[in-house]
Amino acid sequence: MTEITTMHYLVVAAALFIIGTIGVLTRRNVVIILMSIELILNAVNLNLVAFSRLWGLHGQVFAIFVITDAAAEAAVGLGIIIAFFRNKETVNVDEVDLLKW
């Protein structure tokens, strides 16, 4: 088999990114939409770490910042989900139309 290059990692990251995008755009359950956002962030992280193999540690440090932001985003997002579920008894995003005209 051939040697594994940076391009292999980029293609895997792109596949994960696209799967995450499809999940965000097509699912109705808001918890699974948040999980798809985690998939997207992880795809970005894989890119950063793959490039840090070539150009030093900046990518890994940035990947740690991305993980921190993912933790903050998950906490706030899940808090919003709980508050929303308490009011509307649903977790489907297409039933969230309070701000729609």
């Binding site: 895997v12 792109a14 840090s52 070539l54 540690l57 900046h58 921190t68 995003v93």
Partner: protein, 172 residues
């Protein structure tokens, strides 16, 4: 330096990551989706180990698979609806959304194909500081060059903690 990134492990981890990522967005039950997401996160930790990033791999396992996913499972437990599982899981514009996302993927692959020469394809000239003292080097970077972003990240986490508590509280 002999690479640990043997092709077999790479393809195995890529297969696991992508199959379980597809399972995340197709499963009906959110608990199954969360467990598939854990498999994806662990395969990504394997990728980080193959890329000589042991600290990021450990952070990935401890923080993502251990912390964030527990948070997700707790919220699934709190908001789980029996009737939600029986409902239709995809919204009305799912065909358009899938086509648009796949077009974006095609665009990414096209960019990768045309821009292939702009960076070294193999890991010939790998950065020497990555080998043994990875964690130490990251610590020096975090408290040296990246001091201000580090402090901003801590402030962001504080805001997120307060925000999550305020959001999830019944009455303030």
């Amino acid at each position: 330096m002999n690479p640990v990134a043997t092709p077999f492990f790479f393809y195995f981890l890529a297969f696991m990551a992508i199959v379980s990522a597809i399972a995340v967005i197709t499963r009906r039950n959110p608990v199954h989706a969360a467990l598939s997401l854990i498999v994806t996160l662990l395969s990504l930790a394997g990728f980080y180990l193959m890329l000589y990033a042991p600290f990021v791999a450990a952070v990935q396992i401890v923080l993502y698979a251990g912390g964030i996913m527990v948070l997700f499972l707790f919220v699934i437990m709190l908001v789980n609806l029996e009737q939600n599982i029986r409902e239709y899981q995809f919204n009305k514009q799912w065909i358009v959304a899938t086509i648009a996302s796949l077009a974006l993927g095609g665009l990414l692959l096209f960019v990768y194909r045309t821009g292939r020469g702009s960076f070294p394809s193999a890991f010939y000239q790998s950065y020497r500081g990555l080998e043994g003292d990875n964690t130490q080097q990251i610590g020096i970077w975090l408290y040296g060059n990246y001091m201000l972003p580090f402090e901003i990240a801590s402030l962001l986490l504080l805001v997120a903690i307060v925000g999550a508590v305020v959001m999830a509280k019944k009455r303030i």
